[in-house]
Structures are given as C-alpha cells and as structure tokens.
Symmetry: C2
Subunit: 114 residues, 2 copies
C-alpha cells in the first residue's frame, strides 16, 4: 500500500477540511488566512460538537499543521493559526474543493439518474 495513505487518512478526517478551510479562508470561506479563537471556530462550524472540535484541533496541532497560542488574560484566550505546513496543505486542498464545487452538479445529476 502506498505509504502516503496514512497521511491521506488523517487529512480526510470528517472535520479536518472544514477547520483547515475556516483557518485558511476566514469566517466567510472566501478571505485570507488569519488566527481564530476557539469560540469563534465553534460558532463558525456549527455542526461540530465540542469534543470533535477539540479532538481535531489537537490532532492537527500534533501534526504541525496548526499552532495553538494561549494568552493568559482573564479569562484565558486561545487562538489557533495555520502553520506554514498547514498553509501549504490548505493551498492543495483548495484544488480539491474547487473540483468539488465545479463538478458537484454533474455528480448529483448522475446520482439521481442512475
């Protein structure tokens, strides 16, 4: 089996693409990369549970794709940001996302008519 598959598995996680997209394109999915707070991510990705959000963020952080910064204000502030590595992945994933957007109609049409 191709060794790259292990990474593909991680990348393909259910919420990975969403979080990467949020951090890489801002809240409107169309802007520039910028750091975001935990609560901001939670609000933006309305469908994800707190557990999955934390779990996915931890995994991405461990892989060096995002960085986690704690600011000891009161109450504490935590921001997440794409690393250079994460940024490069985000660029690559945009291609896949563009493909999905471009061919979505085709796929759904074929799915319905089969």
């Amino acid at each position: 089996m191709c060794p790259s598959h292990q990474l593909l598995a991680r990348i393909s996680g259910k919420w990975v693409a969403l979080i990467m997209s949020a951090l890489g394109s801002g809240p409107d999915c169309a802007g520039d990369p910028r750091p975001m707070r935990y609560s901001e991510l939670a609000r933006l990705l309305a469908g994800v549970s707190q557990k999955m959000l934390t779990q996915t963020l931890r995994a991405l952080e461990q892989d060096g794709l995002i960085s986690r910064t704690v600011t000891p204000t009161v109450p504490v502030t935590v921001t997440y940001e794409l690393t250079e590595l994460g940024l490069s992945l985000h660029e690559t994933m945009r291609g896949l996302k563009r493909w999905a957007e471009t061919h979505m109609d085709e796929v759904f049409a074929h799915r319905a008519g089969s």
Copy 2:
C-alpha cells in the same frame, strides 16, 4: 456549511483514494489509467475487504466517476474504468497525494517530537 463538503465527504472515503489511484495509475501506482478487473483490484488493494471494495465501487459508479462493464464470458468478466469525470478527479487528487508524500516526513517528525 460550504455545500461542496458533501462531495468532499464522499471523496474522502476510506478506500476511495486507493481505488481511484489504482485505476488511474495502474497496478504499480506509477503508470497510466487503464481498466482493471474486479479480481485484479481485489488483489492489488490487499487491505480492503470484499465488502468494502464492492461498496466503494458501487458508490463511485453511482456518482459517475467510474464505469462498470460486464462481459458475458464464462465465467463472467467485469472491468472497471475511470470515466472522464473520474479522471479529472484523479488528476486533482494527485496533487494531494504529492503533498502527502512530500511532507510526510515533516509531519511524522513533528508528531514524534511533540
């Protein structure tokens, strides 16, 4: 939520990338796209169960990404082949695969040292 995410979910399926890669790059993961028989796929993707292989092939066929051809020999012969749509997806996924291969070391190093 971005509408393209539904397609991303399908694309990110556990075995989708492997099967697309096999059909798109031949048995050695480095050649040209060509049709393959069911048993050939089963042999090549040693890790996948028969159930998952069939299930994934059906899903991809339904989405118009691969075509299924039955030749009524005895015993029956079935070949699978990427459609034009599937071929375009395969091209896009190669970018992701290349990224994974390129940055694998980085990620694993970071994972180990955290």
